[in-house]
């Protein structure tokens, strides 16, 4: 049987969506409460990692393929850079918070910090995708005991 036992699989099926949702929540409220792009991105990645552990790599990769993850990785970084550069066009300097200047929101509201939320989303995408990639790539190699010696086997 591929993956872990039935109990783990069932529980994973129930909670994977909630973990993903929690990740999105952490990303979106990064400017109001503890958390932010990096922490949220790690949680997003961990939902996929849980899927990998419970069902095996194929299932997780069918949801988010390596190519897709690599594209998302680049897109996240480019998004971050684009917003920063837009600050140069719209606000006059690199990294200027131009949204907050033109539409200052009320404090402690979701739409109150201007660009910060956009930065958090970009970072969340990048960290989530790249951490998942790291896990998949490193887990392509498995150490097994063979004739009393450790041996590494590369999965394809």
């Amino acid at each position: 049987m591929k993956g872990m036992s039935l109990i783990v699989k069932t529980v994973t099926r129930w909670i994977k969506g909630f973990i993903f949702l929690f990740g999105i929540y952490i990303v979106l409220t990064g400017h109001l409460s503890p958390g932010g792009g990096f922490a949220g991105g790690v949680i997003l990645a961990s939902s996929f990692i849980l899927l990998t552990l419970a069902f095996g790599k194929e299932v997780a990769l069918s949801k988010l393929s390596k190519n897709m993850a690599s594209e998302l990785d680049s897109i996240g970084a480019l998004m971050f850079l684009t917003i920063a550069l837009l600050g140069m066009c719209c606000g006059g300097a690199f990294f200027v918070n131009f949204l907050h200047r033109s539409h200052p929101g009320e404090a402690f509201r979701l739409l109150s910090a201007g660009n910060i939320m956009l930065y958090n989303i970009a970072i969340g995408i990048k960290v989530g995708a790249s951490l998942f990639m790291v896990f998949v790539i490193i887990s392509a190699i498995k150490v097994v005991l063979k004739d009393d010696a450790m041996k590494m086997i590369r999965h394809k």
Partner: protein, 489 residues
């Protein structure tokens, strides 16, 4: 609108655009990387002679993050970006031997972004972050071939580099606890110079940046890491990386933040002379071509440190000029070593010989670079070494001048060895079929060779006033740097 942040933004953007777009069209990565480095090169030539403080996000220093452009940063910017352009031109054909060119260009441009960031940063923690970007990219690039030697060298470099980074971070932390600020200018203004915490912080920084710059007690990783990388990367690492993240940062901290004291000056003199002498002695016995060049990098960085340690205007001028020259001729030497390796697939000097007949361009450019590093008169290396030796004599450090002259002779000897065994002499039987390398590789070597011949012209007074004099002035003004940044911001 200022272009200062674009020096970081452009290479970062293209580092992430390349893997997105060049999966389908393979030529795209070559064109894109070369265009990027060319634009950066032109931009860096465009900022010569300018002085500016850029406030990121319009937050004024000392609260916000500042990027500062003065003579010393401009000089490094020009060096970094011109050498990286030559290296990318060289990579087009050379990197065909390796599998994943996209990732190579991505990492390369990340490294360039990191180095430009280090050079422009006016904030201590930002300097650390950019330094880590450049270092992580370089760790991966050293191990790019994934063979036994490359992986071992990369791991060694990674461990020592991380220890260095941790010490730098510790220094940043102590500095923050001491002054309550991270802006380099503000730190300089508030630093209590007589406290023991200051000494602890300064030694953390000297240890960290000394490791990054491969000064002699900390040099063990360099002769492994630099030869193992692909040739254009060796040229970048030896040519500019150790200068941008090691020497630049150390000198900026010592001259402009701490203020040069006699103790610090003696530390620089000691490290400089030790690196100079020990590096050349280790180099002369090597039979691996790139390893020999790598040991010479240690030795030449010693000259640079010696010049800075003298702390006279002439000494600093010599050091700065030698830093630029070393980037050019050491870059060229590693590229020629790369061409030789490209053709005959070995770096051992014994298996070469007579390659001059078969590879005229490589042979000629290598001769120019060797004579330049050894200090033969009309070439650039001669002028900078001469200035450093004169500065030694002028400031009464005769012993150091004597060592410098002696090391120069030893350098000449070891490069005569390289020329004799590799390019002159009898052509070996198994090398009869060797051909000259492709045009792109020749082109970048020719550019660097021309620079070797022509860079002596930088000392002509009207040209010197553009590039070298502002750099010397920005270091000599010492801790007035702080007042300059805080008033401009």
């Amino acid at each position: 609108m200022s272009i200062i942040p674009l020096f970081v933004a452009i290479p970062l953007a293209s580092a992430f655009l390349i893997p997105m777009f060049s999966k389908r069209i393979r030529v795209f990565s070559d064109i894109f990387a070369n265009v990027t480095t060319f634009i950066l090169c032109v931009m860096s030539l465009g900022v010569i002679g300018r002085n500016a403080v850029y406030t990121v996000g319009l937050w004024k220093p000392p609260v916000g993050i500042a990027m500062a452009l003065d003579g010393w940063s401009v000089l490094l910017l020009v060096t970094v970006n011109s050498i990286s352009f030559c290296a990318t031109v060289f990579s087009i054909k050379y990197m065909e031997q390796y599998t994943s060119k996209l990732r190579y260009y991505s990492l390369f441009l990340l490294m360039v972004a990191g180095m430009n960031g280090v050079v422009l940063s006016g904030d201590l923690f930002n300097l650390y972050v950019f330094l880590e970007i450049a270092s992580i990219a370089s760790y991966a690039l050293v191990g790019f071939g994934c063979q036994h030697d490359e992986l071992e060298a990369s791991f060694k470099y990674l461990v020592l580099g991380s220890v260095a980074s941790t010490f730098i971070l510790l220094g940043v932390a102590v500095g923050y606890s001491l002054t309550g600020t991270l802006n380099m200018a503000d730190i300089s203004a508030r630093l209590p110079h007589d406290s023991s915490t200051f000494i602890f912080m300064a030694s953390c920084f000297i240890l960290g940046f000394g490791l990054k710059a491969a000064l002699v007690p900390f040099h063990a990783w360099l002769p492994d890491a630099h030869p193992s990388a692909p040739a254009p990367i060796s040229a970048m690492l030896s040519g500019v990386l150790i200068k941008a993240i090691g020497v630049y940062a150390l000198i900026r901290l010592i001259f402009n933040i701490f203020g040069l004291t006699p103790v610090l000056s003696h530390i620089l003199l000691f490290f400089g002379t030790a690196s100079m002498v020990i590096g050349v002695f280790l180099a002369i016995g090597q039979w691996d071509m790139k390893r020999l060049f790598a040991y010479h990098s240690i030795s030449q960085i010693g000259y640079v440190m010696l010049g800075f340690g003298l702390a006279t205007p002439l000494g600093i001028l010599g050091a700065i000029f030698h830093l630029m020259n070393h980037a050019v001729f050491k870059g060229l030497l590693f590229l020629t070593a790369g061409s030789v390796e490209y053709n005959i697939h070995t770096r051992q000097l014994e298996e070469m010989g007579g390659l001059r007949e078969r590879m005229p361009v490589t042979g000629f450019t290598s001769l120019v670079a060797s004579m330049s590093i050894a200090g033969i008169p009309p070439l650039n290396g001669f002028w900078s070494k001469l200035i450093i030796i004169i500065a030694c004599v002028q400031s009464g450090h005769y012993i150091f001048g004597l060592w410098a002259a002696f090391v120069s002779l030893m350098t000449l000897a070891s490069f005569l060895k390289v020329q004799k065994f590799a390019f002159f002499g009898e052509l070996k039987e198994h090398n009869k079929g060797v051909r000259e390398v492709p045009v792109g590789m020749c082109l970048s070597m020719m550019i660097l060779a021309l620079l070797c011949v022509g860079m002596g012209l930088l000392l002509v007074p009207s040209v010197r006033a553009q590039l070298l004099d502002p750099a010397v002035a920005s270091l000599l003004r010492g801790t007035e740097y702080a007042a300059w940044i805080l008033s401009k911001g």
